[in-house]
């Protein structure tokens, strides 16, 4: 088995994931690109299990399982955030998310700063 083949596959998948995260405007598609990156890492871990003689056997595969669990938790919370964003703004375009200013509809506790007039109109 030539380990360079899955390694290069993983590197290309990671590059595709980076490209997707930077290029896509839809938040759901951004999450899909993040999944591509996580899977590239998983492939590296599983392949490293065959090439590296570790003290503990199968450590790479155990870590791949851990990363899968992390990805499941990430996708759950991420989709909850995306759906909340859609409920507030009727759009999941990440370009339209105002950064740094509190949105009045979800203000928790004492609202600080001026209300986001532009966002309320949009």
């Amino acid at each position: 088995m030539r380990p360079v083949i899955p390694y290069v596959t993983a590197a290309l998948l990671f590059g595709l994931g980076v490209y997707g995260v930077l290029r896509r405007r839809n938040a759901v598609l951004v999450l899909m690109a993040v999944e591509l990156m996580l899977n590239a890492v998983n492939l590296v871990l599983v392949t490293a299990d065959t090439t590296v003689k570790a003290v503990l056997p199968h450590s790479g595969q155990v870590f791949a399982l851990f990363v899968i669990v992390l990805a499941a938790a990430e996708i759950g919370v991420g989709l909850a955030i995306v759906l909340q964003l859609y409920r507030l703004r009727a759009s999941v375009t990440v370009d339209d998310v105002p950064l740094g200013e509190p949105v009045p509809a979800v203000a928790v506790g004492p609202a600080s700063g001026r209300p986001d007039v532009e966002g309320a109109v949009r």
Binding site: G15, R24, H58, A72, I75, V108
Partner: protein, 195 residues
Amino acid sequence: MTGADVLLLALGAVAVGAGALVVATRHLVRAGLWLVVCLGALAGDYLVLTAELVAWVQVLIYVGAVVVLLLFAVMLTRAPIGPSDDLDRPGWAAALVGAGSGLGLAVLLIDAFRWSRVDLPDAGTAERLGEQIFRSWVLPFEVLSVLLLAALVGAIVLSRPDIGRSKASSPADGDRTGGGAPVGAAQPADEGGRP
């Protein structure tokens, strides 16, 4: 080139091609379906690399659960059925960074491993992996269970509009994420507050 190499090449080509379509297609739903192809090819890669348990967990969790969640999100956000033109932001910066990181990592790994050959290790069956997880990696395993609980609570708090809302603000504008099906937009918040 052995049979494993040919399989790895073919499955890797399928995975990279499907991944490219995931980030390039103009149909939202098709992106999710190409993601299924990509993740399935990766599961085949894991099988060739003798990681049996990881392959089946990949099929179960990624192809079975994560993609279904993503397709649910696509439908709950009222995505258009046909092709949509506003999915991408213009610019070569993303392509530059993506190609740079991907090809850079590929060159690094090719330089590190050349065309060397390794023997496949013992198969990562559920018995061997379970032994490792519950003997050497118990603490990370338990920490991960706490993290899953935290993610669960966080997702519930995020999708319930009546939690953490200040008294002064207006009543909630419907609970769309709670049950999966869209509820009336004028539903007051108290009805979602069942114990």
